[in-house]
Structures are given as structure tokens and as C-alpha cells.
Symmetry: D2
Subunit: 343 residues, 4 copies
């Protein structure tokens, strides 16, 4: 068996999901006829406190669909520096929606609301209109954003009639870490995107949520983007189990992440980024002089452990449904052996 | 039970597909780790005679991904008049790829190759470059395009170094009607898109096929468009059955279509468009003076028969896996009753 | 001296224009401070019967700015087949505005309004919204469109709340040919684009006209497209003379075109397209077997006559301010000599 | 007479420019026939040390044309924070070119080359390709970038085969401030944009420069963007004088800027941003508690002095051809009066 720490996207559908998928009643969702998709969308809307939901093929799809639906060609979209939309969505917003992305800093205690306020564009022939603000919680960096900070940002946005989209790919992780309900986070924006295929273990899919009017418009844009699926109830069946049975399980991943962080610190040269250890992601540095990236990746693979290479000089290990505390012990022992062999 | 003639997209996954989906080994396909997706892509490439294949969420996604991957911003894309890309993909090519669509006529005996040749843009500062030609076979109109005509178009395109994309949403229907192998049709272009969720009954998905180089580039553009799925092997498992077990079944749909056409002609005022009766789609007219569209749609629905309203003054009935010849008899008797009641 | 029949864009500014340009009071038009630009825009608005006008760098700029300002990303724009926007603007609408172009036929007696009505998109998830209809008068083909036909199209568009843009690059030529006021043509749409640098002889520029609200929005989009000029009053000064002194002169060009057509028919193998001889453009065919395109172009150039090569098998000779009836005699004699030498 | 400190774009064409414009030989530049445009492009290419040049309607046009010509749809373009392309071009790059903008910090001593290096995108399915890096010199902030810093950035870019575009709207101001030739700055990139209508006093236009191959491609894209002008030699004639006679005059503007800075500091609450006082732009703060923005703007206007409101809390006064040192004295006395009246 492989221990896969690259991401929580690697999670496998659970046995009960497989049964549900095999038995799901389905219909053609482009016609609105799939009962299982409809059930999932209804369930998600209730759970996240939004009027309506829309099943989409991926998290990137959900974020980009939100951008396309909120904005007009030529708008400026404000996003946090280093967020997924800017860094890991292949530059899609400019291609698909013709919008300019500009970044605001997100600090350890959240977004500087005053600075953000200064970034909103006034009425000037040289300026694009500010069409959307995006917040991410939990952030790609592993940190959460305090609810009060999100509230302050949303208040600012509403005062200027600028919509807010929340990238809540790991909203349930964020809610757990912050000790709030997911719907309290979702309430801080006009739309929110939620992933089913990460910690929740569904094989495929995300949900975009918002008002009925917004989701109606998004449904058409989803078709434009090629995301109108047919008998998608197969996937939705697993999503329903994800939302109803798997949310409470995320606590394990968070505990395992803290355990992994502690054990990594047993390795002298490992420096864990403790200030970003909020959810199921452990970021740390390990100098190339101690062990090179390629040696570590290849060495662990020989021990049946898959990790990603560094990004911006940091390793990221992600705990997930397929990783137990015993697995973590195995990873640490393997790393110790490798480090001692090469240093 | 509903008899659904709106499209062959309404097909349900078969029992063996449900078993296969429940048991499919899966992995994270964004990392290239899903064995079932990999198996489907390999199988499809062999079957269609292309170097490589890529699983995508829908037919619209596959066509638009092909356009994005073949072209550069500002190119002109030549497509047949009334084709799916122009008429039924929400204007996506302009939004997603920034390309101008221009149409060439497709006549009953195929594309006028000489006229098409005159439409290729020369070197002039006022002209966009011709970046792509799209052919559709079978066409959305129900007609097939002769293989020799496709060969002539491809020869022209190759002589000018212009790539060809084939919208083969119903390529296996076309092959059956033309009495050729699907790969012979696929050979008339640089890329081809094939749907799994229509007559082949898989719940979700299409395949885009082409050279390894093209598919590598398309894989990245698929991520940009939000079509990078995770444990997509669930869906691919059904697709494999579609390609291996369901292709030969299409003959039934074609026979049923001809049977449906014959029986429709029993209704005096029904005029079947016989010259487009090549595959599983029956187009016909029925004057509003005899029975209005809304009356017919609602009246049949009461009899558990779902049909679409007219488009451009024509009704389209599509035979599919869920429609037997007995069902067709029921449809015809219901229509006769309705027509006699209202006229 | 060269006789230049390639286009009426080759016209030179007149001596009085040069004086006016040398003496024009100017200011920074991005700030709205250029009195001469303001005067031109006011004058044009009055002349064409629109609320407001905007000076733009070119006819292509004006048309594309209208498209950008009327539409939203993803709209469908209906244009006449073979119109300038489709054929000679480098595919710009898809790039700049993300809109899909679809063509309606324009016949000798104008647009088939019933067919056009069927092309307007209904409410369907597969359809882009119809965002704009463009008419061209005079057409690039040399023909005018009857005013009554334009009225019928505008009535249709207004009944569906779809805006109309008129490409009036040669609107004064059209008005002359139709025996109406230019403002009567301009009244058949929500916006109109008018060229100053063709028959009117201004060196640079066009005007986009519409409601105040539309022009305000267009002014910002003009900046986005890089068309915010500074001391543009220099050019506007010539434009004012174009509008006030040069419109009546177009009659000469029309007479010369008819004279040229008559004389071309003295050449046996010349076939003038008489049904399109409405304005200052003479289209004709001359078989390659009689004289090849390259021979004709080069041979005339030796005689100081500049012509364009064929497009779609037709030659186009355009009369303009720099072409007198004596010049036409010289052209015909030169052609006769060349044809007799080579045939 | 108005004293206009809003920008150096407000400069008027000089008397010799007006004479030159009145007498310029012109032709249709879309056909390449305008001798004066050709002369200007040749002259500029020599002066800036590039193979070829292209006359464009504005600085925004030139920058956006460079972006369109260097990049492909979906690329990421790296620009300095607070640069003109990001802040003052209406978000055009996303609309016109479909590219994502990402910012690198530009500090007082220039660009952090190491950090910039880390921003170049590697080969990953989540990443857009880095398609272009833009440098600005002089910067919109009033500062220049040291030549050695530009060289280091260009070396990095060349090592990764990434093109560099230089926004040299005020390249001659930068050259003067740095004590180098403008062509030495232009040599630090593959393309450069130079404005004629600012300190150089031409009424309209900029120049985009690069290799012959690049400019050929840009010429076609210029047509797409609507910037193909006809008898543009009228404007080019003024541009020639700008390049040949007005460059040396910029020294006056720089001296006046320093004089203005000194005098502003006589006003107690005025705080001049001395570290950005490199060219003809003086940035300073003046607290709202001392005098409000609207009071200052309106009060100076009554004294025939035009200034812009604050942007990001700063006033910007720009010296230019129409502003003498006596004018500056008048401005300062007027400000003193206003400040004392309201505080
Ligand atoms: Ca998963
Ligand atoms: Ca440690
Ligand atoms: Ca199906
Ligand atoms: Ca002219
Ligand atoms: Ca004749
Ligand atoms: Ca100026």
C-alpha cells in the first residue's frame, strides 16, 4: 500500500460511496432530471445556508464559474496573494472571463481591511471596475482566516455593492479549525465553492452555492464551460455521503497533521511552519544541504511514500483519509533513515 | 415508465456499468494516477486509431478544448452551418478561445470543397488566419457526411497546414450508417471528439483524441477549463463498457428510427425529413394548424412520453437504449389520438 | 501623379483641411478638454441625429468599440454575410469582446427580415443570447440597403430589445444613392459608425454615435482599447471640414464610378457587376485567361495606376477625390493596351 | 492662461509642429504608403537602437499591443506593482489578450531579481506559462530604475527565453535622470513603447519598437485593435520634431520639478516624496485636516491652476512645456493663500 501525502485529493471513495453510486437513481442533469444531483444540491444549500447549489466537475471549475458569473468582461477581481485562483488555476480567469486579477495581502491575522478598501476602484476613465473580491478559507497556505475578519471584509464589500466569492475548497476544515459552522463562513460571501473530492472522499466534484438568481445564471455558464454533465447522479450519490458522513471525520486528519508536525520536528533540520498548521496540511523546510529534493522524493517513493517536491522552498505534506498515525510513523522513520544516509 | 425521445443523452447506465463503476480501481487523474481512466484512454486511442486520448466531462467540453488547443487567439475557425459548435455550445468558442467562427455550407452530398477552399484566408492585414476547420459526422441534423467528402476536405486542409477537428459525438452512429469503421472517419482529422453518454449509455463523459503532443497540450488546457477530475475512473469504467459492449447495439436505435419514421408517416400531416434519416434521429414537421407544439408536448407527457419542442420549425425524435419498438407503437398511437382530438 | 483606385481611404486631406489643422485650438481629449474634438462630436451628433458622438482612430475601431459597448461577453452578434466586421476586421470581435458572430444573408433587395427573426435566440441553456444586430449601409459590396428594409429590421430588433449597430463607414454615399438624409439611415439603429477619412478626405478618424449613456460607456471602452488620444483636435479640425464641405462632393465620385463602369464595358471581357453599382465602387470580373491579375496590377502600376488584386475573383475600383474623369480615361486606355498586348 | 499640472500629456503641439503637420507629405499608412510615418518609424528605430518601429495612437495602445504580440492567450505577464499597465490601462490586458497579470515588487533600488526569478513559472499543469515581463522606466511613481538593475532582469529573462517589454512612456525623462542614452534603456528589453505626446509635445501618438519580425506581427495586431490609421503622416510630422528637437528640452521640466518641490516644502504641512523626485513629477502629501482635496482643487482652479485630485493619498504635480518657473511661483503663492485661509 502507498502512503500518499501529496494532497487530500488523492482520497478514494469509501465502500459506502461505491454502493451508493452503484444504486443511485439518475437522469439527464442538463434537463434538470437527475434526482440524485437535485438531492445533493438541495442538501448542500441547506448545509451551507445558501438558496441554491450547483454541482460542478472540479474546484477550479467552481471558482472560475463564480468569477464568470459575478463579473463582466474587463472587471478587476481582487484576490489574496498566493491564493489558489491566482497561483494554481492556470491563469484561467483572464482567459475565460477577461478579468484582471489584482492581489491584496493576507497576513497571519487576516486581510488588512483598510488597505483592501483603498484598492477598490473609484470612478476614473483609467480604472477597471472592481467586479469581485475573493476570499479563501482555509487558505492554500494551510492557514485559516478568522470569521470576524471575513465579516469585516464582507461589510466593506456590501457597502460598495461589490460581490464576494469564497473559495471554500476546504471550508469544513476551516470550520473545524475555527470552531464554527461551515455555514457561518459561507455567510461571509455571496457565493461559495465547496470541494467534495478532498477530505470528504467523493471521487469527483465540487459545489457552487449562492442565490437562486446567481445559480440560474451559473447553470448556463456551466454549459458554456463544458460542465453540463448528463447522469451525474452517479457522482452526486458519493457527494451526499461526503456531506452527511465524512465531515466529522476531518478531525482525524487535523490530529494526524499535528502528530506529523511533532514527529517531523524530531528531524533536526526540519523546520515546521507552525503558524500555518491550522488544518490537515503541514508545511516545512528541509535544506537541500541536508537532503536534496529529488533524493527525498525518490527515497520515500522506494518506501511506498508519495510526496510532492517543494514549491517556493517548502514541502507540503497533506494528511487524509488514507493516512493513519502508523503511516506517519513509517514516513518519519523512512525520512530519518534517508537524512542520516545522505548527510 | 417514461419514454424519452428528447435525446440519446437521456440513456441510463446499464447494470453492468453500475457493477463496473462500483468496483473500478481509481486514482487521482490530475496526477495521471487513475488506472481505469488510463485504460479507457488507451482503449479509445486504439479503437479510433489515434495516438492518445483524454477523458473530458462532456461533448461541448471536448469540442471547445479542441478549439482552444488547436488555435491561437484571433484565429478564424471554419465550421459547417447549423453545426453543434455554432448552434448549441452557448457561443463558447469566442469566450474561451477568442476565435471567430465562420460557416461553410454542408449540402446533402457533403461539403463543397471548392467553396471551402476559397474561404481559407490568404495573407492580408485585414484577415484573421484560418486556424482550424471543424467537421461533424454524424451531423446534428441527423445526416452523415460521406467518407470521400471528408477525405477531400482533409486533403485540402493538409495542403494548407490547417488542422481539422472532427466533432464525432455520434461517430459510431455515423460509421454504422456509412458502413465504415469509426477509425476511418477519425482518420479524416487531426483530432476527434467522441461521446460516451449518448447511444453508448455511459453516465458522463467524452473523449478527445489526437496526437500525443496535442493531447499533452490539451491536458493542460483541460485543467484551465476546470475539467481536471480526480477519481474519474468511476466514470471511465462505464465508458470502457460503452466502447466495448455498446457500439454494436446502436443498430437497434437506427432500426427503431426507421420504424418510427414509417409509423409517423401514418399520420397524415406528419412530414418526415427522409433525406436526413441516417442515424437514430427522426426529424419531421407537423403543422401548428393540426396540433400546436405546446399541445403535443403536454399531451404526450400525459401519456408518459417526453419530447422536445420544435427547433427551426422541426420536431426531432431520438431513439435510444430506453426506447423499444413497442414504445414507438405507444408513441404513435398517442400522437394519433392527440391529433384527431385537436383537429 | 499616381491614380489610386485601391480605395477611397487613399484620399489626401484638402488644402483647407491642412490650414484648419495648423490652426486648430486643441486640448487633452482624455480629460475632455479639446475644443475642436468637442465641436466635431457636437456637429456630427446633430448631422446624424444622435445624442452624442465620439471621435475614434479608425472605422474598425468604431465598429469594434460599438460591439464591445453594446454586448456582454458570450453574446451572439448577427451580421450580414460578407460584411466588413466579419471579413475585414481581423476577427477582432471574438478577441476584443468575446462574442460569437453569426451571419444572415443580405440579398439584392435587402435583409430577409423573416429569416432574421428566426435567428434571434430564444431562452435555452444551449444558446448564447442575441446581443446585437449589425447592419451595413452602404455595404462593402458596393450595394446600398433600402431604408424601408432597415426600418423593418430595426422594428424587429426593438420588439425583442436587441440593439442595432450600423456600420456607416460610407453612410453619406449610401444616403446620396438612396436619395435620403444620412440621419434617416442613422435613425435605423442605436449606434452608427461614420468614417471621415474615406470620401470625406480627412486624414484620420471615424465617429461613433449613439445615446449619451452609450457614448459615455464607449468613452471608457475607447480608453481600454488604447484609443484615448490627446490633442486630437488636430485631426478633428479636418473632420469638421469633411462633414461640412465634403459631403456634397461625393456626387462626383458616384458619377465617375458610373462613367468608369461604362468605359470598362468597352473592354470585351470585362463584366461589370451592375447590380452593385450604387456608390463609388465598381466591381467587375476580367478572366485570368485574358490577362492575369499580376500582369494587370503590375502593368497598370507602370502607367502610374494603382489597383488592388482580386478578392473572391472580383476586381474593385474605387473612385475618390483624387480621381478625375480624365484619369478614368487614362486607366481605360491603359487597360485596353495591356489586354490587347497579352491576349 | 491656465497652468496645467495634471500631466505632461496636456502639452500643446509647438508652432514648428503645426507648420510641419500642415505641410507633411502623407499617404495611406494601412498600405504602408505614408512617407512621413515611414520616416518617423525609421528615425525612432535608429534613435532607440531597435530594428523597427510602429506608430500607434497612444501609450496604452502601444503597451497593450506589445502584450498581445508577445504573448499567447493564457500566459502570465509579470509587471511591477503600481505600474501603468496594471493600474491605469482599464484592465485591458485580460480583455484584449487573455493574459493574467501578476506583480513583482519594485523597490527604491529597483527590482529584486532573485525574487523575480522565483516567480517565473515552472512546468506544472496548474501553472500558466510566464509569457512576458514588463519593466517601466521611468516609473509611474516618478522614480527611475537603475540601468544595471534592468540589465540583471533582462539577463534573467533571456536565460529563460522570456521576452521583456519596456514601458518607456517617459524613456527620455528616465535617460536624462540616469545620465544615459535612451537607447541604453531600450536595449534592456525586446520591445519598448515610447510616447510622443507627453514631454515631447506631439499632439497624438506613441511608438512601439522591436525586431522587424515582432513589428510585422504587431502591425497586424494593430489593425485588429483598430489602430490602423490612414494619412497618419500628419501626426508623424509632429512626432519627428518631438524626437529631434524636444528631447533636450526635458531638462527644463526636471529643473522645474525640483524647484516646485523646494517651494512646496515652504508650505508646512506639505510633505514631498523626495525619494521619487527623479523626473518631471512631484508627489507630495497634504493632510485633509489642513485643506481638503476638493477645496484645493477648486481653489486652485479659481486661480487658473489645474491639478488632479489625490490618488492613494498623494498629490501629483507634473511639470511640462506649458509650465514656467514663474508659473510655479504663482501656484505656490496660490496654495499658501488657500492653506492659510482654510486652516
Ligand atoms: Ca478524492
Ligand atoms: Ca527541528
Ligand atoms: Ca446517458
Ligand atoms: Ca483619406
Ligand atoms: Ca463587356
Ligand atoms: Ca500633449
Amino acid at each position: 500500500m502507498i502512503i500518499d501525502l501529496r494532497s487530500d485529493t488523492v482520497t478514494q471513495p469509501t465502500p459506502s460511496m461505491r454502493v451508493a453510486m452503484a444504486n443511485a437513481p439518475v437522469g439527464d442533469d442538463v434537463y434538470g432530471d437527475d434526482p440524485t444531483v437535485n438531492q445533493l444540491e438541495k442538501l448542500a444549500a441547506e448545509l451551507l445556508g445558501k438558496e441554491a447549489a450547483l454541482f460542478v466537475p472540479s474546484g477550479t471549475f467552481g471558482n472560475q464559474l463564480a468569477i464568470m458569473t459575478h463579473t463582466q468582461r474587463g472587471n478587476e477581481v481582487l484576490v489574496g496573494d498566493a491564493c489558489h485562483i491566482l497561483m494554481h488555476e492556470v491563469g484561467a480567469a483572464a482567459v475565460l472571463s477577461g478579468v484582471q486579477i489584482r492581489t491584496f495581502p493576507v497576513l497571519d491575522d487576516g486581510i488588512d481591511v483598510e488597505k483592501l478598501g483603498l484598492m477598490l476602484r473609484g470612478d476614473d476613465i483609467h480604472f477597471p471596475d472592481t467586479g469581485l473580491i475573493c476570499m479563501e478559507n482555509a487558505k492554500s497556505s494551510g492557514k485559516t482566516v478568522p470569521l470576524a475578519n471575513m465579516e469585516a471584509v464582507y461589510a466593506l464589500a456590501q457597502s460598495q455593492n461589490i460581490p464576494i466569492h469564497i473559495d471554500g475548497a476546504r471550508i469544513f476544515n476551516a470550520a473545524l479549525a475555527l470552531g464554527v459552522e461551515a455555514k457561518e463562513i459561507a455567510a461571509q460571501g455571496d457565493s461559495v465553492n465547496v470541494c467534495l473530492s478532498k477530505g470528504l472522499c467523493a471521487p469527483v466534484g465540487s459545489l457552487l452555492l449562492g442565490t437562486k438568481k446567481f445559480i440560474k445564471k451559473a447553470r448556463k455558464n456551466r454549459k458554456l464551460m463544458g460542465g453540463g454533465l448528463r447522469q451525474a447522479g452517479i457522482l452526486a450519490a458519493a457527494g451526499i455521503i461526503g456531506l452527511t458522513e465524512m465531515v466529522s471525520r476531518l478531525e482525524e486528519d487535523h490530529q494526524n497533521a499535528r502528530y506529523l508536525a511533532n514527529r517531523l520536528e524530531e528531524i533536526d533540520s526540519c523546520s515546521v511552519l507552525r503558524n500555518r498548521l491550522d488544518i490537515n496540511m503541514v508545511f516545512f523546510t528541509l535544506p537541500e544541504s541536508v537532503i536534496t529534493e529529488s533524493t527525498l522524493v525518490a527515497g520515500l517513493l522506494e518506501k511506498n511514500v508519495k510526496i510532492s517536491g517543494q514549491e517556493d522552498g517548502e514541502y507540503r505534506f497533506v494528511t487524509n483519509h488514507g493516512v493513519s498515525s502508523d503511516d506517519i510513523d513509517w514516513v518519519i522513520e523512512s525520512m530519518k533513515t534517508l537524512v542520516s544516509r545522505y548527510s
